[in-house]
Amino acid sequence: MIINQLSVFVENRPGTLAEVLGVLNAHEINMRAMALADTADFGILRIIVNEPEKVQHILRGAGFTVKATPVLAILVTDYPGSLFEQLNKLSAAGVNVEYVYAFAANSSEKARVVLKVDNLTLAERLINGESQKSEPYRDELGSAPDFYW
């Protein structure tokens, strides 16, 4: 499914990551996933949270530069070649993966994988089978669920 990931600009100096985490803590926001890409001067912190819009607003208010980026989240079963099977569909269709990070699922058999791809809706259709819709995830009442999974 397509979800909104938040990317936060963090300077590469001691304490900047803790500053972001401190803001999230103060607002009792739980991160579902996190990845940090860094260079010599700066890093980009990517996080998955509930209610990304609200969290974006909070972080902005605290003085951070934040961007919401749609990414593809997929479930991968715990057996050899499982991720390959999924990604192979994308590569066969010419979809480019810009970055990937993975984190554990609640169950012991599955892992969650976040992919930033250049053609999001196509990638989602490929993963789910052509018949699936490519709208951002909503529950039956049309609102974002408590948790993404």
């Binding site: 990931q5 990317s7 600009f9 963090v10 300077e11 900047t16 890409a37 860094d38 260079t39 001067d41 700066f42 980009i44 990517r46 902005r60 003085g63 951070f64 530069t65 934040v66 961007k67 980026t69 810009e98 970055y99 930033k116």
Partner: protein
């Protein structure tokens, strides 16, 4: 919109202006020689008598006056009238060394109000305007200079002074301010704060801004005009000469008209002191033709500009100076190359994605100068991808290298990490111990 405050003075024929200036120059040189020990001894050292200055060109025989002369004669050594005649004392906003003190007679204050009123009218203000003066009041000349000019004009003045940004915005909204006077960097800070407060800066009743006290680029003007939805007018002045109102942009926005019936301008080569012809870039030197309290003979302003005398579409015949291009003393020499903060600013603004909050840091490592340019990241420039941000850094670096002819390290920093100033922006930190 050809309106003038003092049409005869502002549209005087060249010949008439030259004769007026010559008469006033002779008068002031004569008076200073007779009454002012500092100028007399300077003239005597050059073997000059007052009658040696008979034409405007003869002004070149007179030595320059510098900020150092003011420091050496601190506090009142350059005053040319008894203290009983002095009705106001200001001190320069200069931040290095002793303050430079200036004194005004009652007539000086009148002239200052007159040139400030001319300036405001040229900027498009009228009796109907409501001007918020957000320059500092006090020893700094910005606040009171504009204030007196606006009062003489008959506009409504909100003398709020500098600082307290949230209150500035509240009054601007509630009082229906139509004109704003402050530093250009503060104008952008106000716009930024308005947006944070959920106010669209374009929806205020502001029509015009009169911005000065620091050099700013054409790009920065475009930025201010689009962010605030106003016309941004450059005003020039310095306390040593009189304060704001020495020169002003008209509605044509192509150079600042100098009130040359009061202030005689020259452009010199800042290194050799040689006088340069019109159209050539150099340091502005001003002689006050009418000031009583503390006249200035050939004062080296350290501001770099160009003089133009072609006819202006606004109808004013007063000589125009280009927007100040930098400071001859603000200039950094990095590995032998002259670098001005204003060049960095125009590069950042031409890239289009950056806010003008930046800082230059110069260090010397192993006897080699290193220039680092800190650039605050904005939402518009922020990319989710590392290579996107690296590309942006590379782009800024390449542009800077081509404009400055010196390579700089570009470092993107978080928003609001560069110190904000409510007065002049601190653009340069020079850590070199030379």
């Amino acid at each position: 919109m050809n309106t003038y405050w003092n049409k005869p003075a502002e549209t005087m024929e060249r010949e008439e202006m030259t004769s007026l200036q010559t008469g006033r120059l002779k008068e002031i040189v004569d008076r200073l020689y007779r009454q002012q020990p500092f100028y007399r001894s300077k003239m005597q050292a050059e073997g000059l008598l007052p009658e040696d200055v008979a034409t405007l060109e003869d002004i070149r025989k007179l030595p320059f006056t510098t900020k150092q002369d003011m420091r050496d004669n601190y506090p009142y050594g350059l005053f040319a009238v008894p203290m009983s005649e002095i009705v106001r004392i200001h001190a320069s906003s200069g931040t290095t060394g002793r303050p430079t003190v200036v004194g005004y007679t009652k007539r000086d204050i009148g002239i200052w109000s007159e040139v400030a009123a001319r300036s405001l009218v040229a900027a498009g203000l009228s009796r109907q305007s409501c001007i918020q003066v957000a320059y500092g009041y006090g020893l700094f000349t910005g606040g009171l200079g504009i204030h007196y000019g606006a009062e003489l004009l008959g506009a409504s003045v909100i003398p709020i002074s500098s600082g307290n940004t949230a209150r500035q915005i509240m009054l601007m909204k509630d009082f229906g301010t139509t004109a704003l006077a402050c530093t250009p960097s503060y104008a952008l800070y106000l716009a930024e704060t308005m947006r944070e407060m959920g106010i669209d800066p374009r929806e205020t009743s502001l029509k015009v801004g009169v911005f000065g006290a620091e050099p700013w680029s054409e790009r920065m003007r475009q930025e201010i005009e689009s962010q605030l939805g106003i016309r941004a007018i450059d005003i020039y002045g310095l306390s040593e000469i009189i304060g704001p109102g020495v020169a002003i942009e008209c509605c044509v926005q192509d150079g600042l008209h100098i009130s040359e019936d009061h202030f005689y301008p020259e452009i010199i080569n800042p290194v050799t002191g040689e006088v340069l012809p019109d159209g050539e870039k150099g340091e502005l030197v001003i002689t006050t033709l009418t000031k009583e309290g503390m006249p200035m003979i050939r004062y080296r302003t350290r501001d770099l500009t160009v003089l133009h005398r072609e006819k202006c579409a606004c109808g004013r015949t007063l000589v125009r100076m280009s927007k100040v291009l930098g400071r001859s003393d603000d200039m950094l020499i990095i590995r032998g190359v002259n670098v001005f903060p204003s060049q960095v600013e125009s590069v950042l603004l031409s890239i289009g994605e950056t806010s003008p909050h930046y800082q230059l840091i110069v260090d010397r490592k192993d006897n080699l100068d290193h220039l680092t340019v800190l650039v605050e990241i904005t939402e518009a420039m922020f990319s989710d991808e590392v290579r996107g941000l690296e590309h942006l850094e590379g782009k800024i670096k390449a542009e800077l290298a081509s404009v400055l002819n010196v390579s700089a390290t570009v470092r993107l920093v978080g928003p609001k990490t560069i110190e904000r100033s409510e007065g002049k922006a601190k653009r340069v930190i020079d850590n070199r111990k030379i």
